[in-house]
Protein backbone atom coordinates (compact mmCIF):
# COMPACT_ATOMS: atom_id res chain seq x y z
CA UNK A 1 0.00 0.00 0.00
CA UNK A 2 1.35 3.37 -0.96
CA UNK A 3 2.03 5.45 2.09
CA UNK A 4 0.55 8.48 0.41
CA UNK A 5 -2.74 7.02 -0.61
CA UNK A 6 -4.96 8.53 2.10
CA UNK A 7 -2.81 11.58 2.95
CA UNK A 8 -5.37 14.21 1.93
CA UNK A 9 -8.09 12.52 3.94
CA UNK A 10 -5.80 12.14 6.96
CA UNK A 11 -4.89 15.81 6.73
CA UNK A 12 -8.57 16.53 7.32
CA UNK A 13 -8.49 17.09 11.10
CA UNK A 14 -11.61 15.20 12.26
CA UNK A 15 -10.41 12.02 10.49
CA UNK A 16 -6.62 12.10 10.91
CA UNK A 17 -4.48 8.96 11.07
CA UNK A 18 -6.57 7.52 13.90
CA UNK A 19 -9.79 7.90 11.91
CA UNK A 20 -8.10 6.35 8.88
CA UNK A 21 -7.20 3.26 10.93
CA UNK A 22 -10.79 3.05 12.13
CA UNK A 23 -12.04 3.12 8.54
CA UNK A 24 -9.73 0.27 7.57
CA UNK A 25 -11.20 -1.89 10.33
CA UNK A 26 -14.84 -1.29 9.37
CA UNK A 27 -17.40 -3.25 7.34
CA UNK A 28 -20.16 -1.48 5.41
CA UNK A 29 -23.14 -3.22 3.85
CA UNK A 30 -24.49 -1.41 0.79
CA UNK A 31 -27.97 -2.62 -0.15
CA UNK A 32 -28.41 -1.93 -3.85
CA UNK A 33 -25.85 -1.41 -6.59
CA UNK A 34 -27.76 1.09 -8.69
CA UNK A 35 -27.13 4.82 -8.76
CA UNK A 36 -26.81 5.40 -5.00
CA UNK A 37 -24.98 2.10 -4.50
CA UNK A 38 -22.45 2.95 -7.22
CA UNK A 39 -21.71 6.39 -5.85
CA UNK A 40 -21.47 5.37 -2.20
CA UNK A 41 -19.38 2.28 -2.95
CA UNK A 42 -16.90 4.30 -4.99
CA UNK A 43 -16.43 6.98 -2.33
CA UNK A 44 -16.12 4.50 0.53
CA UNK A 45 -13.71 2.30 -1.44
CA UNK A 46 -11.51 5.29 -2.29
CA UNK A 47 -11.71 6.38 1.35
CA UNK A 48 -10.25 3.07 2.49
CA UNK A 49 -13.18 1.46 4.29
CA UNK A 50 -11.75 -2.02 4.96
CA UNK A 51 -14.64 -4.24 3.88
CA UNK A 52 -17.55 -3.48 1.58
CA UNK A 53 -20.40 -5.89 0.96
CA UNK A 54 -22.72 -4.98 -1.88
CA UNK A 55 -26.04 -6.68 -2.67
CA UNK A 56 -28.16 -6.38 -5.79
CA UNK A 57 -30.62 -8.59 -7.67
CA UNK A 58 -30.56 -6.77 -11.01
CA UNK A 59 -28.28 -6.66 -14.08
CA UNK A 60 -26.70 -3.68 -15.90
CA UNK A 61 -28.82 -2.08 -18.66
CA UNK A 62 -28.08 0.81 -21.02
CA UNK A 63 -30.52 3.11 -19.23
CA UNK A 64 -28.33 2.78 -16.10
CA UNK A 65 -25.19 4.32 -17.62
CA UNK A 66 -26.43 7.93 -17.42
CA UNK A 67 -26.04 7.96 -13.62
CA UNK A 68 -24.77 4.63 -12.24
CA UNK A 69 -21.14 5.58 -12.03
CA UNK A 70 -19.47 2.20 -11.52
CA UNK A 71 -20.68 0.75 -14.83
CA UNK A 72 -19.43 0.99 -18.40
CA UNK A 73 -20.84 0.08 -21.82
CA UNK A 74 -19.27 -3.39 -21.78
CA UNK A 75 -21.13 -4.22 -18.54
CA UNK A 76 -24.42 -3.40 -20.30
CA UNK A 77 -23.44 -5.42 -23.39
CA UNK A 78 -22.52 -8.38 -21.16
CA UNK A 79 -25.63 -7.86 -19.01
CA UNK A 80 -23.48 -8.41 -15.94
CA UNK A 81 -25.21 -8.58 -12.56
CA UNK A 82 -24.84 -5.14 -10.99
CA UNK A 83 -23.25 -6.51 -7.82
CA UNK A 84 -20.58 -8.30 -9.87
CA UNK A 85 -19.87 -5.35 -12.19
CA UNK A 86 -19.69 -3.04 -9.15
CA UNK A 87 -17.27 -5.33 -7.31
CA UNK A 88 -15.04 -5.61 -10.42
CA UNK A 89 -14.75 -1.83 -10.65
CA UNK A 90 -14.24 -1.35 -6.90
CA UNK A 91 -11.32 -3.81 -6.99
CA UNK A 92 -9.74 -1.77 -9.80
CA UNK A 93 -10.15 1.39 -7.71
CA UNK A 94 -8.73 -0.03 -4.48
CA UNK A 95 -7.07 -3.43 -4.38
CA UNK A 96 -6.27 -3.10 -0.66
CA UNK A 97 -9.82 -3.47 0.57
CA UNK A 98 -12.08 -6.52 0.71
CA UNK A 99 -15.19 -6.59 -1.44
CA UNK A 100 -18.02 -9.11 -1.22
CA UNK A 101 -20.66 -9.11 -3.96
CA UNK A 102 -24.00 -10.91 -3.58
CA UNK A 103 -26.39 -11.31 -6.49
CA UNK A 104 -29.57 -11.64 -4.47
CA UNK A 105 -32.91 -10.19 -3.61
CA UNK A 106 -32.31 -8.98 -0.06
CA UNK A 107 -35.35 -10.56 1.52
CA UNK A 108 -35.65 -10.42 5.30
CA UNK A 109 -34.01 -13.84 5.61
CA UNK A 110 -31.21 -12.93 3.14
CA UNK A 111 -30.47 -9.85 5.22
CA UNK A 112 -30.65 -11.45 8.65
CA UNK A 113 -28.51 -14.43 7.64
CA UNK A 114 -25.91 -11.98 6.33
CA UNK A 115 -25.99 -10.04 9.62
CA UNK A 116 -25.84 -13.30 11.60
CA UNK A 117 -22.68 -14.45 9.86
CA UNK A 118 -20.64 -11.27 9.65
CA UNK A 119 -20.14 -8.19 11.78
CA UNK A 120 -21.51 -5.16 9.93
CA UNK A 121 -20.84 -1.66 11.28
CA UNK A 122 -23.22 0.30 9.08
CA UNK A 123 -25.88 -0.27 6.42
CA UNK A 124 -26.28 2.10 3.50
CA UNK A 125 -29.65 2.15 1.80
CA UNK A 126 -29.22 2.30 -1.96
CA UNK A 127 -32.46 0.51 -2.78
CA UNK A 128 -35.33 1.72 -4.93
CA UNK A 129 -38.42 0.69 -2.98
CA UNK A 130 -39.96 1.01 0.46
CA UNK A 131 -40.66 -2.71 0.89
CA UNK A 132 -36.91 -3.34 1.27
CA UNK A 133 -36.39 -0.22 3.39
CA UNK A 134 -38.88 -1.42 6.02
CA UNK A 135 -36.96 -4.71 6.16
CA UNK A 136 -33.63 -2.87 6.55
CA UNK A 137 -35.21 -0.68 9.24
CA UNK A 138 -36.36 -3.70 11.27
CA UNK A 139 -33.02 -5.47 10.85
CA UNK A 140 -31.13 -2.32 11.88
CA UNK A 141 -33.03 -1.94 15.14
CA UNK A 142 -32.95 -5.65 15.95
CA UNK A 143 -29.19 -5.93 15.32
CA UNK A 144 -28.44 -2.42 16.65
CA UNK A 145 -26.71 -1.32 13.46
CA UNK A 146 -27.31 2.21 12.14
CA UNK A 147 -28.61 2.67 8.60
CA UNK A 148 -28.66 5.69 6.32
CA UNK A 149 -31.78 6.22 4.21
CA UNK A 150 -31.14 7.81 0.84
CA UNK A 151 -33.52 8.27 -2.10
CA UNK A 152 -33.91 10.47 -5.14
CA UNK A 153 -36.24 11.13 -8.04
CA UNK A 154 -36.19 13.87 -10.65
CA UNK A 155 -34.14 16.67 -9.09
CA UNK A 156 -35.37 15.83 -5.58
CA UNK A 157 -33.57 13.85 -2.91
CA UNK A 158 -33.77 12.82 0.75
CA UNK A 159 -31.21 11.61 3.30
CA UNK A 160 -31.80 10.57 6.90
CA UNK A 161 -29.79 8.68 9.52
CA UNK A 162 -31.57 6.05 11.59
CA UNK A 163 -29.47 5.17 14.63
CA UNK A 164 -30.82 2.55 17.07
CA UNK A 165 -30.95 3.88 20.63
CA UNK A 166 -30.66 7.43 19.38
CA UNK A 167 -33.11 8.26 16.59
CA UNK A 168 -36.74 7.46 15.84
CA UNK A 169 -36.95 4.81 13.12
CA UNK A 170 -38.41 4.89 9.61
CA UNK A 171 -41.74 3.65 11.00
CA UNK A 172 -41.91 6.66 13.28
CA UNK A 173 -41.31 9.03 10.38
CA UNK A 174 -43.61 7.20 7.92
CA UNK A 175 -46.12 5.16 9.83
CA UNK A 176 -47.70 3.61 6.76
CA UNK A 177 -45.65 2.32 3.88
CA UNK A 178 -46.19 4.84 1.06
CA UNK A 179 -47.95 3.79 -2.13
CA UNK A 180 -46.81 5.31 -5.41
CA UNK A 181 -43.80 7.18 -4.04
CA UNK A 182 -41.53 9.16 -6.37
CA UNK A 183 -39.17 6.85 -8.24
CA UNK A 184 -36.68 7.04 -11.09
CA UNK A 185 -38.34 5.00 -13.83
CA UNK A 186 -41.50 7.06 -13.41
CA UNK A 187 -40.43 10.62 -12.71
CA UNK A 188 -37.01 10.34 -14.32
CA UNK A 189 -33.80 11.31 -12.54
CA UNK A 190 -30.85 13.61 -13.16
CA UNK A 191 -27.38 12.47 -12.15
CA UNK A 192 -26.64 15.53 -9.92
CA UNK A 193 -29.58 14.57 -7.67
CA UNK A 194 -27.99 11.14 -7.29
CA UNK A 195 -24.59 12.65 -6.50
CA UNK A 196 -26.08 15.04 -3.94
CA UNK A 197 -27.68 12.15 -2.02
CA UNK A 198 -24.47 10.14 -2.37
CA UNK A 199 -22.42 13.05 -0.99
CA UNK A 200 -24.62 13.37 2.07
CA UNK A 201 -24.91 9.63 2.71
CA UNK A 202 -21.20 8.97 2.33
CA UNK A 203 -20.27 11.95 4.53
CA UNK A 204 -22.53 10.56 7.27
CA UNK A 205 -20.96 7.12 6.73
CA UNK A 206 -17.44 8.53 7.07
CA UNK A 207 -18.41 10.26 10.33
CA UNK A 208 -19.84 7.08 11.83
CA UNK A 209 -17.02 4.81 10.66
CA UNK A 210 -14.13 7.11 11.56
CA UNK A 211 -15.30 7.60 15.14
CA UNK A 212 -16.98 10.99 14.75
CA UNK A 213 -20.39 9.78 15.88
CA UNK A 214 -21.45 12.93 17.73
CA UNK A 215 -21.31 14.78 14.40
CA UNK A 216 -24.06 12.64 12.86
CA UNK A 217 -26.99 14.65 11.49
CA UNK A 218 -30.25 14.29 13.41
CA UNK A 219 -32.28 15.83 10.58
CA UNK A 220 -34.39 14.56 7.71
CA UNK A 221 -32.72 16.48 4.89
CA UNK A 222 -34.46 17.16 1.57
CA UNK A 223 -33.42 19.19 -1.45
CA UNK A 224 -34.65 20.04 -4.90
CA UNK A 225 -31.80 21.02 -7.21
CA UNK A 226 -34.15 22.39 -9.87
CA UNK A 227 -36.18 24.72 -7.67
CA UNK A 228 -33.22 25.58 -5.40
CA UNK A 229 -34.95 24.51 -2.21
CA UNK A 230 -33.44 22.85 0.81
CA UNK A 231 -34.95 21.83 4.15
CA UNK A 232 -33.31 20.23 7.15
CA UNK A 233 -36.16 18.93 9.27
CA UNK A 234 -36.06 18.16 12.99
CA UNK A 235 -37.69 14.85 13.87
CA UNK A 236 -37.59 15.01 17.68
CA UNK A 237 -41.07 16.41 18.42
CA UNK A 238 -43.02 13.73 16.54
CA UNK A 239 -40.47 11.67 18.35
CA UNK A 240 -39.92 8.06 19.04
CA UNK A 241 -43.24 6.30 19.39
CA UNK A 242 -43.43 4.11 22.49
CA UNK A 243 -45.74 1.75 20.60
CA UNK A 244 -43.57 1.56 17.48
CA UNK A 245 -43.21 -2.10 16.41
CA UNK A 246 -39.58 -1.45 15.45
CA UNK A 247 -38.08 1.03 17.92
CA UNK A 248 -40.73 1.09 20.68
CA UNK A 249 -40.71 -0.46 24.13
CA UNK A 250 -41.78 -3.90 22.87
CA UNK A 251 -40.54 -4.32 19.32
CA UNK A 252 -41.88 -7.14 17.16
CA UNK A 253 -39.92 -6.30 13.96
CA UNK A 254 -42.93 -7.12 11.74
CA UNK A 255 -41.06 -6.93 8.42
CA UNK A 256 -38.59 -9.63 9.46
CA UNK A 257 -41.31 -12.20 10.02
CA UNK A 258 -41.14 -14.83 7.31
CA UNK A 259 -44.82 -14.48 6.49
CA UNK A 260 -44.20 -10.79 5.78
CA UNK A 261 -41.73 -11.54 2.99
CA UNK A 262 -42.67 -11.09 -0.64
CA UNK A 263 -42.99 -14.45 -2.40
CA UNK A 264 -43.39 -15.14 -6.07
CA UNK A 265 -44.58 -18.20 -7.89
CA UNK A 266 -44.33 -18.63 -11.65
CA UNK A 267 -47.40 -20.38 -13.01
CA UNK A 268 -46.55 -23.37 -15.18
CA UNK A 269 -47.67 -23.18 -18.79
CA UNK A 270 -48.86 -19.58 -18.51
CA UNK A 271 -46.86 -16.44 -18.66
CA UNK A 272 -48.08 -15.29 -15.25
CA UNK A 273 -46.50 -14.79 -11.85
CA UNK A 274 -48.21 -14.82 -8.46
CA UNK A 275 -46.91 -12.34 -5.93
CA UNK A 276 -47.76 -12.78 -2.28
CA UNK A 277 -46.92 -9.83 -0.13
CA UNK A 278 -48.90 -9.69 3.10
CA UNK A 279 -49.17 -6.02 4.00
CA UNK A 280 -49.24 -4.69 7.54
CA UNK A 281 -52.42 -2.80 6.68
CA UNK A 282 -54.98 -3.45 3.91
CA UNK A 283 -54.16 -1.88 0.58
CA UNK A 284 -55.95 1.42 -0.11
CA UNK A 285 -57.42 0.40 -3.48
CA UNK A 286 -58.62 3.91 -4.42
CA UNK A 287 -55.24 5.41 -3.75
CA UNK A 288 -53.46 2.66 -5.68
CA UNK A 289 -55.87 3.16 -8.59
CA UNK A 290 -55.37 6.92 -8.72
CA UNK A 291 -51.58 6.50 -8.70
CA UNK A 292 -51.75 3.96 -11.51
CA UNK A 293 -53.87 6.38 -13.54
CA UNK A 294 -51.26 9.09 -12.96
CA UNK A 295 -48.80 6.71 -14.62
CA UNK A 296 -51.02 6.54 -17.70
CA UNK A 297 -51.86 2.90 -17.09
CA UNK A 298 -55.31 1.54 -17.91
CA UNK A 299 -57.10 0.89 -14.64
CA UNK A 300 -60.23 -1.12 -13.88
CA UNK A 301 -61.45 -1.80 -10.38
CA UNK A 302 -64.23 -3.32 -8.33
CA UNK A 303 -64.54 -3.49 -4.54
CA UNK A 304 -62.41 -6.66 -4.45
CA UNK A 305 -59.66 -6.16 -6.93
CA UNK A 306 -57.82 -3.70 -9.08
CA UNK A 307 -56.62 -4.36 -12.62
CA UNK A 308 -53.76 -2.39 -14.12
CA UNK A 309 -52.84 -2.81 -17.78
CA UNK A 310 -49.41 -1.59 -18.89
CA UNK A 311 -48.56 -2.58 -22.47
CA UNK A 312 -48.45 -6.37 -22.60
CA UNK A 313 -48.57 -6.66 -18.80
CA UNK A 314 -51.70 -6.93 -16.72
CA UNK A 315 -51.63 -6.81 -12.92
CA UNK A 316 -54.57 -8.07 -10.90
CA UNK A 317 -54.23 -6.86 -7.33
CA UNK A 318 -56.15 -7.97 -4.26
CA UNK A 319 -56.71 -5.92 -1.13
CA UNK A 320 -54.56 -8.20 1.03
CA UNK A 321 -51.58 -7.38 -1.17
CA UNK A 322 -51.60 -10.47 -3.40
CA UNK A 323 -51.19 -9.85 -7.11
CA UNK A 324 -51.26 -11.87 -10.27
CA UNK A 325 -48.99 -10.47 -12.97
CA UNK A 326 -49.92 -11.61 -16.49
CA UNK A 327 -47.67 -11.19 -19.51
CA UNK A 328 -44.39 -12.39 -17.99
CA UNK A 329 -42.96 -15.54 -16.48
CA UNK A 330 -39.99 -13.66 -15.03
CA UNK A 331 -40.48 -13.15 -11.30
CA UNK A 332 -37.98 -10.26 -11.21
CA UNK A 333 -39.94 -8.43 -13.90
CA UNK A 334 -43.17 -9.13 -12.02
CA UNK A 335 -41.72 -7.72 -8.80
CA UNK A 336 -40.55 -4.60 -10.61
CA UNK A 337 -44.08 -4.02 -11.89
CA UNK A 338 -45.50 -4.63 -8.41
CA UNK A 339 -43.12 -2.09 -6.87
CA UNK A 340 -43.81 0.43 -9.60
CA UNK A 341 -47.52 0.52 -8.77
CA UNK A 342 -47.75 -0.50 -5.15
CA UNK A 343 -44.74 0.55 -3.09
Amino acid sequence: MSHDRYSRQQNFGPIGTAGQQELAAKHVLIVGAGALGSGNAEILARSGVGTITIIDRDYVEWSNLQRQSLFCEQDAIDQLPKAVAAANRIKQINADITVHAHVMDCTASDLTSLLDTSKVDLMLDATDNFAIRYIINDAAYQYQIPWIYGACSGSYGVVCNFIPGQSPCLHCVMERMPIGSASCDREGIIAPAVQMVVAMQSAEALKWLSGNRTQMSDRYTVFDLWSNMHQSIRMDKTGKHEACPTCGAQPSYPYLKSEAAMRTEVLCGRSSVWIRYPRQEPLDMNLAASHAMQLQAEVKSNPYLLQIQEGEYRLVIFQDGRALVHGTSDSLEAKKLYHRYLT
Binding site: S153, G154, G180, A182, E187, V222, D224
Partner: protein, 76 residues
Protein backbone atom coordinates in the same frame (compact mmCIF):
# COMPACT_ATOMS: atom_id res chain seq x y z
CA UNK B 1 -47.93 31.52 5.04
CA UNK B 2 -45.21 30.27 2.72
CA UNK B 3 -45.75 26.87 1.07
CA UNK B 4 -42.84 24.91 -0.42
CA UNK B 5 -43.80 22.14 -2.85
CA UNK B 6 -41.20 19.45 -3.42
CA UNK B 7 -40.91 16.86 -6.23
CA UNK B 8 -44.00 16.18 -8.36
CA UNK B 9 -46.11 18.61 -6.30
CA UNK B 10 -44.38 21.57 -7.94
CA UNK B 11 -45.34 20.20 -11.37
CA UNK B 12 -48.92 19.63 -10.27
CA UNK B 13 -49.10 23.15 -8.86
CA UNK B 14 -47.11 24.84 -11.62
CA UNK B 15 -44.81 26.52 -9.06
CA UNK B 16 -42.37 25.31 -6.43
CA UNK B 17 -43.53 27.80 -3.80
CA UNK B 18 -46.41 30.14 -3.07
CA UNK B 19 -47.77 32.52 -0.44
CA UNK B 20 -51.23 31.94 1.01
CA UNK B 21 -53.24 34.16 3.38
CA UNK B 22 -54.04 31.44 5.90
CA UNK B 23 -53.79 30.62 9.57
CA UNK B 24 -53.92 30.03 12.37
CA UNK B 25 -55.09 26.65 11.07
CA UNK B 26 -54.54 23.04 12.08
CA UNK B 27 -52.49 20.79 9.81
CA UNK B 28 -55.55 18.64 9.07
CA UNK B 29 -57.65 21.68 8.09
CA UNK B 30 -54.77 23.12 6.10
CA UNK B 31 -54.48 19.93 4.04
CA UNK B 32 -58.23 19.89 3.38
CA UNK B 33 -58.10 23.55 2.33
CA UNK B 34 -55.16 22.90 0.02
CA UNK B 35 -56.92 19.94 -1.61
CA UNK B 36 -59.99 22.12 -2.04
CA UNK B 37 -58.11 24.99 -3.70
CA UNK B 38 -55.79 22.82 -5.81
CA UNK B 39 -57.57 19.56 -6.68
CA UNK B 40 -54.67 18.51 -8.94
CA UNK B 41 -52.31 18.12 -5.95
CA UNK B 42 -51.75 14.48 -4.96
CA UNK B 43 -51.40 14.84 -1.20
CA UNK B 44 -51.71 11.24 0.02
CA UNK B 45 -48.73 10.17 2.11
CA UNK B 46 -47.23 13.67 1.76
CA UNK B 47 -45.27 14.64 4.87
CA UNK B 48 -45.66 18.09 6.42
CA UNK B 49 -42.90 20.11 8.02
CA UNK B 50 -43.62 23.48 9.62
CA UNK B 51 -40.58 25.70 10.08
CA UNK B 52 -38.34 22.65 9.48
CA UNK B 53 -40.04 20.51 12.10
CA UNK B 54 -42.28 17.47 11.48
CA UNK B 55 -45.65 18.09 13.11
CA UNK B 56 -48.82 16.15 14.01
CA UNK B 57 -52.22 16.65 12.35
CA UNK B 58 -53.42 18.71 15.32
CA UNK B 59 -50.51 21.19 15.21
CA UNK B 60 -51.63 24.77 14.54
CA UNK B 61 -49.87 26.56 11.68
CA UNK B 62 -49.42 30.33 12.17
CA UNK B 63 -49.75 32.91 9.35
CA UNK B 64 -46.01 33.58 9.11
CA UNK B 65 -44.91 29.95 9.14
CA UNK B 66 -43.17 28.13 6.30
CA UNK B 67 -44.83 24.83 5.40
CA UNK B 68 -42.93 22.24 3.36
CA UNK B 69 -44.90 19.53 1.53
CA UNK B 70 -42.68 16.48 1.09
CA UNK B 71 -43.78 13.50 -1.01
CA UNK B 72 -42.14 10.22 -0.05
CA UNK B 73 -39.38 9.28 -2.45
CA UNK B 74 -38.21 5.76 -3.17
CA UNK B 75 -35.88 5.99 -6.18
CA UNK B 76 -32.24 5.16 -5.91
Amino acid sequence: MKILCFAHLSEQLGASSMELELGPISVADFMAELKNRYPALLLDHVMIAVNEQFVEQTHVIEPNDTVALLPPVSGG
